[in-house]
């Protein structure tokens, strides 16, 4: 069986010649939850944008991204975008519809869902993120936490097999963060989470990737990676408090 997501020697340069990604390769099995770590400017967001073909603007001949064994090429692009749900860093960029209902309905509508089926999909996705009754609210009337959850509902509405999240908790207060974490934990899809929230990674992701300067510098069990203080400091990160007093070989620290 092929991996849920596989990246083979992915490189990318911006128009101004800066290298953003340099020969990144990894594979993620179905159902895995993987943390993507790295300092600012490491290329995390750029990598995520490659996972459903937002970047590069022109897809090259040789594919570097494979989703469920399917190569990401212009022909497969629509079905790959449906399989890989991308949640962006800023909720305001992602909530582009006038009401919550419209926004959650956007993806399924592109997939051709209509009327009752569409209504049912939107209703169930909003219920799943605990926002039933928010259908007619307008995005600017929502709190940050609510915005985040609407974003998630909008992505879940496309029923993706792989969920890709860019800094999902960066602008949330502790309660919002806790709720969002619980929500993520309840979703069975394969997940890739780029974040600076190391506690979230420790709690949700058994495995992590460490990206720096566009290169994949480490790939392994989260707890081992984060407990390696020298490695963390070398790449602009810190050993999280949650691991400060724990044995590095303890499996999951919050069991």
């Amino acid at each position: 069986m092929s991996a849920a997501l596989e990246i083979r020697a992915l490189s990318f340069r911006y128009d101004d010649g800066r290298a953003a990604l340099d020969g990144v390769s990894f594979a993620v099995e179905a159902g895995e939850c993987v943390g993507l770590l790295g300092p600012n400017g490491a290329g995390k967001s750029t990598l995520l944008l490659h996972l459903n073909g937002i970047l590069p603007e022109r897809l090259p001949d040789g594919a570097a991204v494979f989703v469920g064994g399917m190569a990401l090429n212009p022909e497969n692009l629509p079905s790959i975008r449906q399989r890989v749900g991308l949640m962006f860093q800023q909720s305001d960029d992602q909530l582009f519809c006038p009401t919550v209902w419209e926004d959650v309905a956007f993806g399924p509508r592109q997939m051709g869902l209509l009327k009752e089926e569409l209504g049912e999909r939107v209703r169930s996705c909003l219920a799943r993120v605990n926002l039933a009754g928010f259908e007619h609210r307008r995005p600017h009337q929502l709190s940050q936490g609510e915005k985040r959850r609407v974003c998630l509902a909008g992505v879940l509405a496309c029923e993706p097999g792989v969920l890709v999240l860019d800094e999902p908790t960066s602008d949330l207060d502790p309660r919002g963060r806790r709720e969002f974490k619980a929500l993520l934990a309840s979703i069975p899809a394969t997940k890739i989470i780029a974040t600076h929230d190391l506690e979230l990674v420790v709690e949700l992701c058994p495995r992590s990737l460490l990206l720096d300067g566009g290169k994949l510098v480490a790939d392994g069990p989260t707890v081992e990676l984060l407990a390696d203080e020298a490695l963390m400091l070398r790449h602009g990160l810190e050993k999280p408090h949650i691991l400060q007093h724990r044995h590095p070989h303890a499996k999951m620290p919050l069991d």
Binding site: F88, F96, G107
Partner: protein, 210 residues
């Protein structure tokens, strides 16, 4: 400018609010077309008469809609500078003053009807009706995005303005005020372009093919 001022729809329980959006939009479009089609040759008394009658009609609708008249007038007043600006151009024509008043009366009546429409009909409802009327999808997408991001932009410009004020000390010359405004606008434009790209990416990520 704060966000509240942008929110044109005012939810109320009234006869006018309950009227189907399609009917209201149809009446408003008919109203505007009718006013535009009025011949120019009529003298001021006739124009005044028509204007007065129309004003009574609009006033009745406004009362029926249970909106605060002050709110409606404030919105209308906000738009009047544009009316006068455009109307002033006709002063250069022969019979300038007559043309000027024609333009002012007509445009004000049109805008008053549109202010009423916007206050009693949610924007998303209007878009839905326009979609049923087969208005090109691209235009509707543009309108929808405009409605959504107007709020974001106003908030963003507010934040930038506050940040600027918090590091502005002492008296400011008029020149520096204008310079600040110009810089804010420029920044806002650059940020909007960057944001537009991110929104487009977000749309593509959820299957947009347009």
């Amino acid at each position: 400018m704060h966000v509240g001022l942008l929110e044109s729809y005012q939810p109320r329980r009234s006869l006018v609010h309950r009227l189907p959006a399609g009917v209201k939009l149809g009446l408003a479009v008919g109203w505007v077309l009718g006013l535009v089609a009025l011949p120019r040759g009529w003298g001021l008394p006739v124009v005044g008469g028509i204007g007065g009658a129309a004003l009574v009609g609009l006033g009745t609708v406004a009362v029926l809609s249970r909106l605060r008249i002050g709110f409606l007038l404030k919105r209308l007043l906000l738009l009047e500078p544009f009316v006068f600006g455009v109307a002033a151009l006709s002063l250069w024509q022969p019979h300038g003053w007559e043309a000027f008043w024609h333009a002012v009366v007509r445009s004000t009546l049109c805008l008053a009807a549109l202010v009423l429409l916007a206050a009693t009909t949610p924007f998303s409802e209007m878009i839905r009706v326009l979609r049923e009327w087969r208005v090109p999808a691209l235009l509707l997408t543009t309108l929808t995005l405009m409605d959504r991001y107007l709020f974001v932009l106003v908030e963003e410009s507010g934040r930038m303005q506050r940040a600027r004020m918090s590091r502005t000390f002492g008296r400011r010359s008029r020149r520096s005020v204008w310079q600040g405004l110009a810089e804010t606008l420029g920044q806002l434009f650059v940020r909007s372009v960057a944001r537009a790209e991110r929104i487009y990416a977000a749309m593509c990520a959820r299957g947009w093919k347009g």
